[in-house]
């Protein structure tokens, strides 16, 4: 038992710094978000298309504006399908009905795309090179850049905190729940930073939505789950701790990001549907929509969010599969059976099955879109139960939280 108390204290301080800096970064992202609303002063109004979304602020004009675009959009999108209806070859009544249904679907899609395009039109026009960079002032954009710098700074402090903790205890820094939570948030922030780097900062809008749960999580870890630095219990003293737990942590961190994008997808999807209803004249634009329009406009289209979610889950799912299998191999060495339906095993199985269902649902007609998204959220809930409730509430072989 050799705990370096100096390093342990350093680790705790660095975690405090991390939380503070992350919180500041979150505020920065939020500010960038808030100040880049439509209807305010916009740097490049000239770049807005003629049916600029700024008109959304004038209630009565919305349907007319969006409707016009819908009509335009239907030419391209509808053209692919309408011939089928008129196709003389389709004499089978069932086929005709189906074709008509397909045409209706296509119309709906076209409608939504057009409506979304109406909203996004100004934006894409403005940022042709920036690829969806919203129309914001240079000053506001600086807020976002500062937030990214702060995130990076917080990330460094976070890495420092985790490293110091590991050095203090002279072991890997993921031996109890406090340390898992710290590592999971570190992975989530790393995932976000990696996405920033890969897309050349095009996903900065994601910042506030990632940092918010991360700060909450870290706060929870630092208060409720905190335990002092100490050595491992014998059951954890295996090289599988490095393999199994690292895989589980990485998968969880990445799943966390996917949960964030899923929530955003659901919000945006709802908003786009409402917008389509407004565009089609079935509903009136309402105040909340105009007010929140700013945030919704900042988000990429629902289709893009859905794709991001799928890719993030596609990354995390094999890692999670590996984590479960590595855990089974470890269990075989430690307890003499590779699978015993211990609560932790059961919930990792449930999580795995639900995310597998998500991947299947995304390829199934009638389950795509918001239903698949709900499954993704269900999967994350199962993961949360697996990590926290199983350790804190349900007792089993994995009860090593060290929390009384």
């Amino acid at each position: 038992m050799s705990v370096n108390s100096g390093l342990a204290a350093l680790s705790d301080h660095l975690l405090g710094v991390t939380m503070a800096v992350y919180a500041l970064a979150m505020l920065g992202y939020a500010a960038e978000f808030a100040f880049s609303r439509f209807g305010g002063t916009i740097a490049a109004p000239a770049a807005m298309s003629s049916v600029g979304a700024a008109q959304l602020t004038a209630p009565g004009r919305v349907p007319a504006m969006a409707g016009a675009v819908t009509a335009g959009g239907a030419v391209t999108a509808g053209g692919a399908v309408h011939p089928a209806v008129a196709d003389p070859a389709a004499t089978d009544p069932a086929a005709e009905a189906l074709a008509a249904a397909a045409a209706r679907d296509a119309d709906r899609v076209a409608e939504r795309t057009a409506a979304a395009a109406a909203m996004a039109g100004g934006r894409d026009g403005a940022g042709a090179g920036a690829g969806g960079e919203p129309p914001v002032t240079a000053r506001v954009r600086w807020l976002g850049r500062i937030a990214v710098a702060l995130t990076l700074l917080g990330w460094l402090a976070h890495v420092g905190s985790v490293t110091a903790r590991g050095l203090a205890a002279d072991r890997v820094p993921w031996g109890n729940m406090y340390e898992f939570s710290s590592m999971i948030t570190l992975v989530a922030v790393s995932t976000y930073l990696a996405m920033l780097a890969r897309t050349r900062a095009r996903v900065r809008w994601l910042g506030v939505f990632v940092m918010f749960p991360v700060v909450l999580y870290l706060g929870f870890a630092g208060t409720v789950l905190y335990v002092a630095v100490g050595p491992l219990v014998p059951a954890l003293n295996s090289y599988w701790l490095k393999i199994h737990v690292v895989a589980a942590i990485v998968a969880s961190g990445v799943f966390m990001v996917s949960a964030v994008t899923t929530v955003l997808y659901l919000l945006k999807d709802r908003w786009e549907n409402k917008l389509a209803a407004v565009a089609a004249g079935r509903a009136d634009a309402f105040a909340a929509m105009r007010k929140r329009g700013g945030i919704m406009l900042r988000l990429p289209s629902a289709a893009v969010l859905d794709r991001i979610t799928y890719r993030v889950i596609g990354l995390a799912f094999p890692i999670w599969t590996f984590a479960v299998i590595a855990g089974a191999i470890w269990a075989e060495a430690a307890w003499g059976r590779y699978w015993g339906w211990d609560p932790k095993e059961t919930w990792s199985f449930i999580t795995w099955v639900i995310y597998a269902a998500y991947l299947h649902a995304r390829a199934t007609a009638g389950w795509k879109g918001s239903r698949a998204a709900s499954i993704s959220l269900l999967g994350f809930s199962a993961l949360f139960i697996d990590y926290y409730l199983v350790n804190l509430v349900i007792s089993g072989l994995h009860s090593y939280a060290g929390v009384e």
């Binding site: 038992m1 391209t76 692919a80 399908v81 309408h82 011939p83 089928a84 196709d87 070859a89 389709a90 089978d92 086929a95 189906l98 074709a99 397909a102 894409d124 100490g230 050595p231 219990v233 014998p234 003293n237 599988w240 794709r307 596609g314 990354l315 799912f317 094999p318 599969t321 590996f322 299998i325 089974a328 191999i329 470890w330 060495a333 430690a334 307890w335 003499g336 059976r337 590779y338 699978w339 015993g340 339906w341 609560p343 059961t346 919930w347 199985f349 449930i350 099955v353 639900i354 597998a356 269902a357 991947l359 299947h360 649902a361 995304r362 390829a363 199934t364 007609a365 199962a382 089993g396």
Partner: protein, 626 residues
């Protein structure tokens, strides 16, 4: 791009018709996971190709179909993706009670506790196998149905994939440039030359390519100059490997439970056991295990047990030094068994799963002669190893008493505390798991233990129905119901005043370890399946399947061809340049990773255009931003 004569049927309506037929037959395109499935082979991505036809050949109703139709319908329903999704959800849901309610397989004591706490609810739950969820028939029904559904789907998918692997990529649609990201341009090459140039470029990019045969014609009778290319077959291969490996894993788990066995035995330092049915305290085996022939022959003696702890009492390390022989009278080897480090003997593995203390009891008669002696293991009940001890001595040498000649048997129950301290509120407790100050709080009974009546008894619990509590003399004073003994102090570890003038001394202490012997001959099988699952998954998630088509047509034909579509500028070729011989079109499809594919398609189009173009024409109007 509105309705038009001959060109249209080969593109769009085909897929609509395919879909319609598939739906009418009750067959649903089912992609095995990962949003890809046969990627481009879905209705929306199947521009009239013969390969990978999802619905056409299944469920075609023939004359004999009247009998088999309902069966087929049920089968198709079962193997549809919707059913699979539903079963996946059911499986997840069914596993939940298994984690919330105590399970017999994990902790039978907790199940008993639950029965005591909820006397009315528990039997009802028990009828639903709620305490053995993972062995319940309804749980098995769900996963077996899921796997049948999977196998049904797999068999079709394997056939399609095999056909795709030996076959050619599906033929090019009439107007590839109308697909998302498609382009078209004029070329100075003749259509066959242009198509061949495209073929070379696609081949260099490791696409599987198929050139339209010489003399092939399109449905409208015009000559077909096109090349179809496809790449990323590994995606479906990986996908199939993943799912097949899942089936193999389930089979391996099942076989393992039929051919495996496990036994648990408690061994006091210095003692041992042999790998035979009778030496285990608990033994369970699969249906197909022969309890005599299939158990790996070995015997094992524990020579030493060491446990070390942190100052907080948190355990640091346990290790048991054992000597074992793998055959009768064979050479003895030594080994160390630790947590996470089992001992492999033959096909079996021996695990260290628990430990505790066993005090040494000596019962003497009034003359000082030893009546009974032995180590009695005590069951640990807290983290500091305060343990419950129960000692039953049937043969005390005391004469039976009373008119019914009740035997006078002795029993003691107590609490062993390895590091004993007196707590004001809780009495004698243990404050550290190591035996620094071993103490034993003891109560004695005399009477009929009912141990010779042929009814099996738990050695760790005491039935005091026909017993009388003793008042004995000891360190705490005379004539008391309970005594506290200090095992390290020879003057404070004897209880006297027992019936017949007997005395009980607790003069020693050993540690015991609990070993579990486990054999699962199909463990390796399951591991291989698990590795295949991961490899298949990685491949199917990383590889993208995509198709690219290049079509060329003579420009002179363009005016007379059916391509006088409203939006096709080809007909209105203002540049009546003599070098323009043909028009080249390129287009492609990929259902997954649309962004990445768009970039790849752009790069390929640029290459093909560089190799074929003469005068670049403006991008086709159908080119869309994603």
């Amino acid at each position: 791009m509105t309705t038009s004569g001959a060109a249209a049927p080969t593109t769009v309506p085909d897929e609509v018709r395919d879909e319609a037929r598939a739906r009418a037959d009750g067959v649903r395109e089912r992609a095995l996971a990962t949003g890809s499935g046969s990627s481009a082979g879905s209705p929306s991505g199947q521009p009239g190709g013969p390969g990978g036809n999802a619905g056409g050949d299944i469920g075609r109703s023939g004359p004999a179909g009247r009998v088999t139709a309902p069966i087929r319908r049920v089968w198709h329903q079962l193997t549809s993706m919707r059913t699979a999704l539903l079963l996946l959800f059911l499986l997840a849901l069914a596993a939940v009670p298994g984690s919330l309610l105590p399970q017999r397989s994990l902790n039978p004591l907790k199940v008993e506790q639950y029965f005591r706490d909820h006397p009315s609810l528990a039997p009802a739950l028990d009828r639903l196998s709620a305490f053995n969820v993972f062995g319940a028939s309804w749980f098995a029904a769900i996963y077996l149905l899921l796997f049948i559904s999977l196998i049904g789907c797999l068999s079709a998918r394997v056939r399609w994939h095999a056909r795709a692997l030996v076959g050619r990529p599906p033929r090019a649609p009439a107007r590839p440039s109308r697909l998302t990201g498609g382009q078209s341009w004029d070329s100075a090459l003749t259509p066959p030359e242009a198509v061949d140039a495209a073929r070379v470029i696609l081949r260099r990019r490791r696409f599987r390519v198929a050139l339209a045969a010489d003399g092939a014609t399109r449905p409208d009778g015009s000559p077909d100059f096109s090349v179809a290319a496809e790449k990323g077959y590994l995606r479906e291969t990986g996908n199939l490997i993943f799912h097949i490996a899942l089936v193999f894993m389930l089979v391996g788990v099942g076989l393992g439970s039929w051919f495996g066995y496990q036994g648990t035995v408690l061994v006091i330092t210095g003692d041992g056991f042999a790998n035979t049915l009778v030496s285990y305290d608990q033994f369970s085996r699969g249906r197909l295990v022969d309890p005599v022939g299939d158990l790996a022959p070995f015997s094992l003696t524990m020579e030493e047990f060491t446990a070390s702890y942190q100052p907080t009492g948190q355990p640091a390390d346990f290790r048991a030094k054992v000597a074992y022989a793998t055959e009768f009278d064979g050479p003895t080897r030594t080994a160390e068994i630790r947590v996470n480090h089992p001992l492999a003997v033959g096909s079996a593995k021996v695990y260290l799963i628990g430990h505790g203390y066993a005090p040494h009891f000596v019962l003497r008669n009034s003359a000082g002669g030893v009546v009974w002696e032995g180590y009695q293991p005590c069951t640990p009940r807290d983290a500091m190893f305060a343990s419950t001890c129960t000692l039953k001595i049937g043969d005390t040498g005391l004469a039976p008493t009373g008119p019914t000649r009740e035997p006078q048997q002795l029993a003691f129950s107590g609490v062993f505390t390895p590091t004993t301290e007196l707590d004001r509120a809780r009495g004698y407790v243990s404050t550290y798991p190591a035996a620094n100050a071993p103490g034993l709080t003891l109560t004695g009974y005399v009477g009929n233990l009912h141990i010779n009546e042929g009814i099996p008894q738990n050695v760790y619990s005491l039935d005091t129905r026909d017993m009388r509590q003793l008042r004995v003399n000891g360190p705490l004073g005379d004539d008391r119901a309970a005594q506290v003994l200090a095992l390290n102090n020879p003057n404070q570890r004897t209880v006297t005043g027992l019936p017949g003038g007997m005395s009980l001394e607790v003069d020693g202490l050993r540690e015991f370890a609990t070993f579990q012997t486990k054999s699962d001959p199909f463990k390796g099988w399951v591991l291989v399946a698990a590795i295949a699952i991961i490899c298949g998954l990685l491949v199917s998630m990383r590889v993208r399947r995509r198709r690219i088509w290049v079509r060329a047509r003579p420009v002179a034909d363009a005016d007379t061809d059916a391509d006088t579509d409203t939006d096709t500028d080809a007909g209105a070729t203002a540049d009546t340049d003599a070098v323009t011989v043909s028009m080249v079109e390129i287009g492609g499809l990929s259902r997954s990773d649309i962004d990445g594919f768009a970039a790849e398609l752009r790069a390929i189009a640029m290459d093909v255009r560089a190799a074929t173009a003469s005068a670049p024409r403006p991008l086709d109007s159908t080119e869309q931003e994603l």
